[in-house]
Symmetry: C2
């Protein structure tokens, strides 16, 4: 390619996160849901995403379906592999927020060390930890797929809450006790938090059909 | 969470790729640049991204800087690790296009097998291979960082084009000979291809400052 002065200028051209945020009319962050299986993480994340999409926001939900069968399909469930699973998800979230997208994740992510690793990887304020607080009994009662039952018999080993620990977040940005409130109320807590923090602006975002 | 009928409907709610594409007013694809070091991949990818951004499109460029230091920092340069490097990039691209983003990549990606792996991972038409065709002599003459010189002395082992093979694409969607045309002409070839394929629509996309 010819090195004209014009080209040299172009070579430096880069679209930045700030430019994307401005175009999208919202900031990008990692919204990290954590909690026991059946505590409501995935349901809340997807409904939050739907509401954000309706407001014109750019979003993506990472969950077991799109991660464990894809980029992390070569990982097992040893402590080391679980940590690498979370690390890769964190790195992907960083690329998504660089791309101007609100990255929501719905993983049990039972270890404080792993969650704090993501918090430290992210810039200040980019990591929002949301603890879906729900007692084991209620989670088990919701377990339509019967995975808790299989964990109880030992068919599924090292199952969080039964045969493996869940480390409660020490200072999450948001705590949602999902035992006795509706999904709508859970979702509103998240949307309100994002709005109060100035990540989304209900007046600025475009409402589309 | 209470199981009201309303909630059950919500549980199924998911924002799809099609919904995002409609909102973004463009389709999402993987634009995979391949070619020797200094053949122009990264420069062209970034200028294409800038033009697409100006048209209001959602884009992201994957390159060594944001991948090798992040999600793939635990990979080396053995044949196996190079393949895993490309596989993970491909899986990330799939998540980005699911998120409605045009994912551009700028990696030498010298092996046909690896590039075809991504093509097969993607849905029909989602993978656009762009071969930056440039002879070794011209690439070496552009090498401001002196990496070809270090490869010639053997300081950098298994360097593509010097001590490791580059397998020319057999049927890439676009071939750009970057030896004698300006960056602007190279970029125009990519933009025109995306337009002709209906991935972007110059009339529909919003022109922003």
């Amino acid at each position: 390619m010819k090195n004209t002065a014009n080209n040299i200028t172009w070579h430096c051209a880069t679209v930045t996160r700030e430019m994307r945020e401005k175009q999208n009319r919202h900031k990008s962050v990692i919204v990290w849901f954590t909690g026991l299986s059946s505590s409501g993480k995935s349901t809340i994340a997807h409904v939050v995403e739907e509401q954000l999409h309706q407001m014109g926001c750019k979003t993506f939900v990472f969950d077991g379906d799109n991660v464990r069968h894809g980029i992390n399909k070569n990982l097992g469930f040893s402590r080391e592999d679980r940590k690498e699973n979370i690390r890769r998800i964190g790195e992907m979230c960083k690329l998504f927020i660089e791309a101007g997208v609100i990255a929501l994740t719905a993983f049990i992510s039972p270890y404080r060390e792993d969650r704090n690793m993501i918090r430290q990887m992210a810039k200040d304020g980019d990591f929002i930890e949301i603890y879906c607080d729900c007692c084991l009994e209620v989670c088990e009662s919701r377990d339509v797929k019967g995975i808790y039952a299989r964990a109880r018999t030992g068919e599924i080993p090292e199952f969080t809450g039964i045969s493996a620990p869940y480390e409660i977040p020490e200072s999450p940005e948001v705590i949602i006790n999902t035992e006795n409130i509706t999904i709508g109320e859970c979702v509103a807590k998240v949307i309100n938090y994002l709005s109060e923090r100035g990540i989304i602006n209900r007046n600025l975002t475009r409402h589309r059909k």
